[in-house]
């Protein structure tokens, strides 16, 4: 099991943070373009699932899978979006993302008065804590393929 990369967006579609661990293939476009593409896709998927849903669903879009990887999506009521790519064997990613939100994001970004809301996060403390959090999670094991 492994974790590839994470994107954090705010409700305006700004990429607040990006980090990668075992990403093997790069997209070949700049980070900004990639983030825009990602956000646009998420936005479309969200409205698509909301429109197509035959029943009233509370949470909407949660994840998608290809035969090689899975993309997990967690959105808070304030519109903060956490997007985590893992391999297909990973389970319990939703709980992991909720923990990440409560224990890392709120603690080291939201409570940092030097972080201006809506701007990319540059804090080294957050970077270190996120790295530690991901590496400690049972989902992370650097398996080189």
């Amino acid at each position: 099991m492994t974790i590839y990369n994470i994107y954090i967006f705010d409700k305006f579609g700004t990429l607040l943070y990006y980090a990668e661990w075992n990403r093997i293939k790069q997209s070949g476009i700049t980070k900004e373009e990639e983030a825009k593409l990602m956000y646009g896709m998420l936005y479309s998927l969200k409205s698509f699932t909301a429109k197509m849903s035959p029943i009233d669903s509370k949470e909407g879009f949660l994840q998608y899978r290809t035969n090689k990887y899975a993309l997990h999506y967690f959105e808070t009521a304030t519109g903060l979006k956490f997007v985590l790519n893992t391999d297909n064997a990973s389970t319990g990613v939703r709980e992991l993302l909720q923990q990440l939100y409560a224990k890392v994001w709120v603690e080291y970004v939201n409570r940092n008065p030097l972080w201006v809301i809506g701007t990319p996060v540059t804090s080294d403390l957050f970077k270190a804590k996120l790295d530690e959090f991901i590496k400690q999670s049972p989902l992370y094991s650097s398996k080189s393929i």
Partner: protein, 178 residues
Amino acid sequence: MSRNTNRLDLKKVNSELLSLTYGSLVSQILRDFDNTDEVNKQLERIGYNMGVRLIEDFLSRTLSPRCLDMRETAEKIQLAFRMYLSIQPTISNWAPTGDEFSLIFEQNPLTEFVELPQDLTNLKYSAVMCGCIRGALEMVQLDVQCWFVQDQLKGDAVTELRVKCLRRLEDQVPAGED
């Protein structure tokens, strides 16, 4: 980087420390501005800035989804007061349209040991609460107005905070390709 990881547990703080710290903040702002209306505005603004951050803390603890109606919102605000100030306001006086309600406080930790001098009857001492509610709700796409109807500091039996929903904000669409 030696922060204690146990900090996530709800920490108990002496409410007297909070009321005294808040009191000194209010008196400092009163010294800085001579106009009481301006002081009210500053307190509201401080509250707003607190609210937009506090909401993330609240959501990460409760993991609550977005509210579908104002009744749900009122209950969440009540819960938030219990979490952050350990007081439980009563929800009452619903407007027939269901978009306006009151929070009744029997006691208010912010105004402990406080007496308003005669010349400051205009001062909204706890205006920070209004700002906080407004800021927090704005982050979850609710535009509200919030004001005091009754205030124990002004001789009323209870403190009454009125919340009125103005409109629901729309979700943002992604920025188009330039």
